[in-house]
């Protein structure tokens, strides 16, 4: 059977087809779990986050709007939001925030490369990991850092400026420049992901 698009799976989920959820899990759970660990650090918390996030996706599949982006991006957004909420509720800082803000200039991309790849079901996802990791690693370090602080650390621009003790204008410029570069280097991936 030809594999269905993510969107078709979400469509089936709205009809209560849990096999579609299982398929979506097989495609995306490893990415979502890695994201949850990157933010929440505790594996038990990360499991909770992914289970909650996919539960939310299951319940609200009918509200998925392809006009706003891919299914992968939708799932990542739900997971990231839940992970940051959990970290904040516990009065902690995101793991990535400490790493990215800390002394290290390695950011998050370096551990990714160093840790090696966990077994991943999909070759495409493996390629995506490598491409995104490499693209981030190729950014000038200050640009990469502000992007990581925002995405994995959950900080606003203003908070990033305070965290790094840099002018807000500098943070804005770096964020925009870094995102523009990623937009270019990820163009191939993003066009392929599609709806």
């Amino acid at each position: 059977m030809a594999s269905q698009s993510d969107r078709a799976l979400v469509e089936r989920m709205t009809a209560g087809d849990d096999r579609a959820l299982a398929e979506l899990y097989d495609r995306h759970a490893s990415t979502l779990y890695a994201l949850a660990v990157a933010i929440a650090r505790e594996r038990a918390d990360a499991e909770e986050i992914v289970a909650d996030a996919l539960g939310q996706a299951w319940r609200t599949a009918a509200q998925f709007d392809p006009g706003r982006g891919s299914v992968a991006a939708w799932l990542a957004t739900i997971t990231r939001t839940r992970a940051l909420d959990l970290v904040r509720a516990r009065g902690r800082r995101a793991l990535a925030l400490e790493r990215a803000a800390g002394q290290s200039s390695e950011g998050l991309a370096a551990p990714l490369a160093a840790a090696g790849e966990a077994p991943d079901r999909g070759v495409e996802r493996l390629e995506a990991r490598q491409l995104v990791g490499r693209s981030l690693a190729e950014l000038p370090e200050p640009q990469r850092r502000v992007i990581e602080l925002a995405y994995f650390g959950g900080l606003t621009q203003t908070e990033i400026a305070a965290e790094l003790q840099e002018p807000l204008g500098t943070v804005k410029t770096r964020m925009r420049a870094g995102m523009e570069k990623l937009r270019g280097s990820l163009a191939q991936l993003l066009s392929r992901e599609g709806p």
Binding site: D65, T81, L108, G116, L182
Partner: protein
């Protein structure tokens, strides 16, 4: 138009969810009118979505799959039919339309900014004079929030000219330790927006001033109990709901 360049700077942080509540509200108003920025946001949002792939690889626990599927079997997806109970009695169509419209990128209500705004507003409205002034202004709209006819009750005064919401709560016991009450503003077709968190005094009373997100014109308001610090979106059914009137 003249401000376009200034707004354009906000597309990347908007997609990264790195704007304050006020910045985001202003930028969303701009987005409604600006196709260039909408296109930017769309592209940057896909970039942001792909950043999840940059998280260091972590071995997925084998038992998680069963857990997710087991939990799903106990819940039906929302499909525009029955679902979340009393919440829907008042807000059904609104809540269902929520994620379909403004959707999932609205999800993060920035707790920190709201808390800061709350502190600032509390300081500014320290004096009773100012409070009374806020309530008596000619632009004030009100909403009575009730829980199916019995205590607790709540009256909200929204001073549109100053963007303030005065919350007067009655017979509402203080939230348990580690929990807080959170006020939501709900507009048709959009996600609930947090107006702020609050708590009551031991006597069950509270008069608190919060700030309505700039430019936001809700149809309904509702109150939920949330973990301390508040939540990005309601995590439970509201126990107080009411529609905005007049003003």
């Amino acid at each position: 138009m003249t401000d376009h360049q200034g707004y354009r700077e906000l597309a990347a942080p908007f997609a990264l969810d790195a704007l304050t509540v006020a910045e985001r509200a202003a930028f969303e108003a701009h987005l409604a009118e600006c196709a260039i920025c909408r296109a930017d946001v769309q592209a940057f949002r896909e970039v942001a979505g792909a950043l999840a792939y940059a998280a260091p690889a972590a071995a997925l626990p084998a038992e998680l799959r069963d857990r997710v599927l087991r939990e799903a079997r106990h819940v039906r997806p929302l499909a525009g039919r029955r679902t979340v109970g009393p919440w829907l009695a008042a807000a059904a169509a609104l809540v269902l339309a929520v994620a379909a419209g403004y959707g999932y990128w609205w999800e993060r209500a920035a707790r920190d900014e709201l808390s800061a705004a709350l502190v600032a507003m509390r300081a500014r409205l320290d004096s009773a004079d100012r409070l009374v002034g806020a309530i008596l202004d000619s632009t004030v709209g009100t909403a009575d929030l009730a829980a199916t006819g019995k205590a607790p009750t709540m009256r909200l005064y929204w001073n549109r000219a100053r963007g303030l919401v005065v919350v007067a709560a009655f017979d509402l016991p203080p939230a348990p330790a580690g929990r807080t009450y959170q006020l939501w503003a709900i507009k048709k077709g959009q996600a609930p927006v947090s107006v702020g968190t609050f708590n009551t005094l031991p006597g069950g009373r509270a008069v608190i001033t919060l700030q309505m997100p700039a430019g936001f014109k809700p149809d309904l308001s509702a109150v939920t109990e949330e973990p301390a610090g508040g939540s990005a979106q309601p995590t439970q059914q509201p126990f107080l709901v009411g529609a905005w009137q007049g003003g």
